[in-house]
Symmetry: D2
C-alpha cells in the first residue's frame, strides 16, 4: 500500500482509547485521522497528546470524511448497528466492538448493509487473538487431540459491576458470556445447537434485584456432537480467571491463567504464587493489538477478516437462548 | 478392645481382594477369619498365602459364624442389599461396596434392617478418604473460601469398559458418576435438588448400542443455592483424570491429578511431565486402607461411620434422576 | 525359597523400628526373629506388639543365633563396622545403615570381612529407591538427555538439629551431605574427582561453635567430565527440600518436591499450595520399604545388592574431602 | 519537560536497532535524531522507515551535534569506553551497553570522565528491569524471606555462538556470566568477595580450542555472609533457561521460565507444556523498554540512574576473578 490507511475512531471510552493508542503506537502505515465522542471536550487533551488531528462530538463528521478509509466503532452498544449501516453505506471498512446489537433484526440489517457495500467488517472478539487460546485452536485444528468431545471455558471477573451497569448491560449472558460463546465456536469450529443455563444470584443481591444473575454454568451441545460447558461468575476474589479445557479422542488440553510473574515464595506458612493478571486490560492487551493488525491486514490484502459478521451474530443468538433457558428452566434449541 | 475384630469378606473379586489384603497388612487388631466367593476354588491359593483360614463358596457360612463380628460385602451389586439384610439380622457390622442397590425400595429395606439390628453400616465411597479431596472438604468446612458458589468434579476413566460390562453396569450415571454424586455431597455438605444431564456417545458406539452413554456434563443445583457440574468420560487417553474445583465467595480451590513422579524432562521437542496415576488402584489405594480404618474405628469406639446408609442412598437417587434427565432431555428435580 | 528368611534387627531407634515394622508388614517371606538394643527394656512393648519373639540388650545374641540369616544394622554409627565384621564372620547377610564408618581404614576392614565371608552387604542409601530419583537415573541411563553436563542436588532439612547432635554427627558433610554424594554418583554413574566446599554458619551460631557449618554449596567435578553442585542447608523454614536437576547434551531434567496434596487455594491475598512433605519419614517412607525388598531379593536370587560396599565407602571419601576443602579454602582432589 | 529529549544511537546492530525502535514506539517525549553505524549504508532503509532523520558512518557527528542531549552506545565493546569519554566531555547523558570495557583502567577513565562532566550514565543491565527478577529483589528488600543465605542464578543459552564469536567475546565469564554477576549483586544488595569457577568444555570442542569454556558452575561468597552459585551453559537444547532461586532465614524464592503460552497437552504418550521463550529478544523485550524509561526518567528528574557506573565496573571485576579462578584452579578473592 503506497498510502497510509486513514482511520476514524468512534467512541473514545476505555476501549476506544486503547484501540486509538495501539494503532498509533504499532502501525506506522495507519493514521488515526479523527476521533468522535459525545463528550468531545473530555477527550481533547488525550487526543492532542497522541497527535490526533480532529476531535468531533458527532460521529457523522467521520462518516462524511471521504478521506477516511475505516472506522473503529467503540461507542455504546445501542449505536453499533446504526453506525455500522451508515459507515458501510459511506464505503468505509468497519471494526465494530462486540456485540453488534442485542436485536437480531438490526444485526441482520447491519450485516446486509456491509454485504451490499462490500466493505470489510470485523467484530471485536479479541480473545481469539490471545496467545493461549489461539494455540488451543491450532492444536484442535491440526488434529493433535483427535475429535473434540468436551470443551469448557472458565471466565470469571475479579469483581462485580455496579447494579446500575447491570441494568443496561443486556444481562450477563449477552454482556459477559458472549465472549465465551464466541470462544467455544472459535475453538470447536462447530455451532451450538442447544443451551441449558444453570444460573443463580450468589455474588450480589442487587444484581438479582436488577433482574440479572451473577453466577452460571451453561451446558452446551454442538452440531459436531461435542458437548460443552461455560463457567461464569461476576466475582472471583483472586482475580480474573480465564481458562479453557478441551477433551478429545486423542488427548486433552488445558490452559491456565497468565500471571504477572513466575515468582513462588515458600515460607513457614505457605507456598504462594502470583494471582492471575488482574483484569482484561492486563490480561488481553496483546490481543487488542493483534486484532487491529488482522483488521488492517484484511484491508490491505483484500481478504475476509478472521472474525466475520456471522461471528458477531451467532453469540448473540446463543446468549438470547441462554436467557430463555434460564427463564424457563429448560434446555433451549437453536 | 481386648480381642481382635473378626471379619468375613464376601466376594473376592478385585476389590474384595484389596480389602482383605489391606486389612491383614495394616490392622493388627483385625483378623480376616473367612472369605466367601462363588468361585471358591479360584481363590484358595490366594487365601492360603494370606493366611485366611476359611474359604467358602456360600456366603451364608460367614453369616452363620457367630464368631465373626463384621462383614465386608464385595460381591456383585445385585446381592448387596440381600446380604446386608442377612448380615444385619445376624448382628454383624457391615461394610458394603457401593452401590447398595439400584432399586430404591431394596435400599430402604436394607437400611431398615441395619437400623433395627443397631449394627454399624458403612458404604464404600472411598474417595472421601483421599488426601486431596479430604483437604478440600476441610477447607470448605472451616470457611477458607466462604460460601460455596460453584463445585465441579472431573472424573474420567483412562479407557472404556467392554460393552458387555456396560450392559449390566446400571448405566454410566449409576456405575461411574455415582462416585461424583457422592463427592459433591461430601464437599458441599448440601443436597442436590436438581439434575440436568448433557450426555452423548463419543467414545465407543458399542456403548451406545448397549443403551448407555460414555461422555457427560451433568449440571446440578444444591439446596444451599450453589450450582455444580460433573464432567465424566469413559475414556481419557492420557489416563485417570480425577480433579475437583470449588469457587466460593472468599476464594477458589483447585485439585490437580496425582502423578507417579514430579520429574519434568525438557528437550528440543517439548517439556514433558508425568501422566496422572494410571487408574483407581494406583490413584486411590491409600483411601481403600483409610476407609477400612474408619470402619473398624467406628466399631471399636461405637460411633457412626463417616459414610452412612443415607450417603449410600442419595447418590443412587441422583443417578436415577440423571438417567431420567438424559432420557427426557430436561432438568429433573429431586 | 521354601523357608522364611530370618532376620535380626540390631539397634531399635527410629530407623531400626521403621525397618522392623516395614519388614513385618510387607514381607510375608521374612521373619523378624529378634531385635537387639542397648535399651532393651524400652522397646519390649513395641516388640511384643509387632510379635517379635526375642528382645536382647546385647547384639551378640543375634550374631550367635545360627537360625538367623541376615542382620539389619541400625545401631549408632561408631558400631557399624565392628558389627558388620562380626556378622560377616558369622555368615550373615548384612543391611547396614549409612555411613559404614567415618574411618576409611575401618570401612576397608568391614568390606574385607564381607568379601571373605561371601555374604550380601547393602548400605542404607534409601534415596536411590525413591520414585522421583529412580526415574531420573533411568532417563539418564537410557540416553534421554544425552551426555550429562551438569548435575545438581538440593537437599535442605526443615529445621536444624540441636548443637549436641551436631557435635557427635561427624559434621554436616558426613552426616547430611553424604546422602547427596551418593545421589550424584547414583545419578551420573560417574565418580567424583574433585570437591570444593563453599560453606558457612548462617542458621545457628551454636552449630558454628560446635565446630560445624550449616549451609553449603559444594562444587564437584566428575570423572566423565561433568560438573556438579550440592546445595545444603540445615534449615528451610518451608520444609524438607529435596530436589534434583540435570542438564545433558540432549535435554534437561528437573525434580520438584512431593507434597501432601495437590490442593491450591486462591484468595484475595494469594495463591497458595502445599509445602513439601515435612521430613524424611513422610518423604521417603516408600524408599525404606523398597530398599528392604531389594535386599531380600538379592539374598533370594543370590545377586549383588544395588547399593554395594563401594557405594558405602565412596561418599565417606568425598565427605572427608569436602571437609578438608572447607578447612583449607581450596578444591581438593580425590 | 517542555521539549523533547533528543537522542543519538551509536551502533545499529541488533541491540541498537531494538533500542531505537523501542524509543520511537514508546516515548513520545524523546526523539531519535540520529543514528551512527560504521555500516551506514546497510541501515539507511531501516532508519528511513522509522523516520530517523540522520544516518552517519562516524559517531563523532553525533557527539558534535549540540542539539543532541543523550547517546545510546551500542557499538562494539572495544569502543564503549572511548565513546563514553567523548560523549561525557560533550556534556551528553549516556546509556552504555554492557560491558563498559574489559580493561579496568579504561573503565575507571570512562567513569572519571562521566563524573567530571556531571552527566547521567546508565549501563545496559536490562535484566534488572525484568518483571520476575524485580519482584525477587523487592521481596528480599522488604524482608519477606529474612536474611539471604543462598542465592542461585541459572542462565543458559539455547545454542552456542560460533567459535569465531567466542574468540573476540572476552570469554564466557565476561560475555555471558557478566549479566549473572550483576544479577546476584542486584538481588542480594551485597558485594561478591570470592569466586571459584568450576568450568569445562562440554558443548563444543571448537569453543575449547578458541581458549574458552562453555559450561560453568561458579561458586560465590558475599560480603554479607551469604553464599551463591551461578549455573551457565552455552547450550540448553530446550531453550533459553533463565531462573533464579534464593534461600533466606524466613523463606525461599524460586523463579521459573516464562513461556509463550500456558497450554498443556496430555496425550497417550505424555503431558507436554511449552518450552521457555526462545532467546533474549523474546524473553527480555519488556526490560529493554523499561531500562530506557528509567534512563529518560533519570534525565528528566535529574536523579541517579538505577544502574550506575559502579554497577558497570563490578561485574567486570568479578568476571576477571572468575577467569583467574578457572585458570589457576582455586578460589580467588576480590
Amino acid at each position: 500500500m503506497g498510502q497510509k490507511i486513514k482511520v476514524g475512531v468512534i467512541g473514545a471510552g476505555r476501549i476506544g482509547k486503547i484501540h486509538a493508542s495501539n494503532i498509533i503506537k504499532n502501525f506506522a502505515d495507519v493514521e488515526v485521522k479523527a476521533v468522535a465522542d459525545i463528550y468531545a471536550d473530555a477527550i481533547k487533551d488525550w487526543a492532542a497528546e497522541l497527535g490526533i488531528q480532529h476531535v468531533y462530538a458527532d460521529y457523522k463528521k467521520i462518516i462524511e470524511d471521504k478521506d477516511i478509509d475505516a472506522v473503529i466503532i467503540c461507542s455504546s452498544t445501542d449505536t453499533h448497528s446504526q453506525i455500522t449501516i451508515e459507515a458501510a453505506q459511506a464505503g468505509k471498512h468497519i471494526f465494530c466492538e462486540k456485540p453488534i446489537d442485542y436485536d437480531i433484526a438490526r444485526i441482520h440489517q447491519a450485516l446486509e448493509a456491509v454485504k451490499l457495500a462490500g466493505v470489510k467488517f470485523q467484530v471485536g472478539f479479541n480473545r481469539r487473538f490471545d496467545h493461549n487460546f489461539k494455540k488451543v485452536r491450532e492444536l484442535i485444528q491440526n488434529g493433535s487431540i483427535g475429535d473434540v468431545q468436551i470443551v469448557k471455558v472458565i471466565s470469571r471477573d475479579p469483581a462485580p459491576p455496579p447494579a446500575e451497569y447491570v441494568k443496561v448491560s443486556g444481562g450477563m449472558f449477552l454482556d459477559m458470556t458472549i465472549h465465551d460463546f464466541d470462544m467455544v465456536r472459535y475453538l470447536t469450529g462447530s455451532e451450538v445447537t442447544e443451551v441449558y443455563a444453570n444460573a443463580a444470584v450468589l455474588v450480589d443481591k442487587a444484581i438479582g434485584e436488577a433482574g440479572d444473575v451473577d453466577t452460571a454454568l451453561i451446558s452446551l451441545k454442538f452440531a459436531n456432537g461435542a458437548i460443552g460447558m461455560i463457567d461464569n461468575c461476576r466475582q472471583a476474589v483472586y482475580g480474573y480467571d480465564q481458562r479453557v479445557e478441551v477433551l478429545g479422542t486423542k488427548g486433552g488440553i488445558t490452559v491456565t491463567n497468565d500471571t504477572p510473574t513466575t515468582v513462588v515464595v515458600s515460607t513457614e506458612c505457605a507456598v504462594t504464587a502470583d494471582k492471575p493478571k488482574y483484569f482484561f486490560l492486563e490480561r488481553y492487551m496483546e490481543s487488542f493489538e493483534a486484532e487491529m493488525k488482522e483488521f488492517f491486514q484484511s484491508i490491505v490484502t483484500n481478504t475476509e477478516p478472521v472474525v466475520t459478521g456471522i461471528d458477531g451474530l451467532k453469540p448473540v443468538l446463543i446468549g438470547l437462548a441462554a436467557k430463555k433457558s434460564h427463564e424457563e428452566g429448560r434446555p433451549v434449541k437453536l
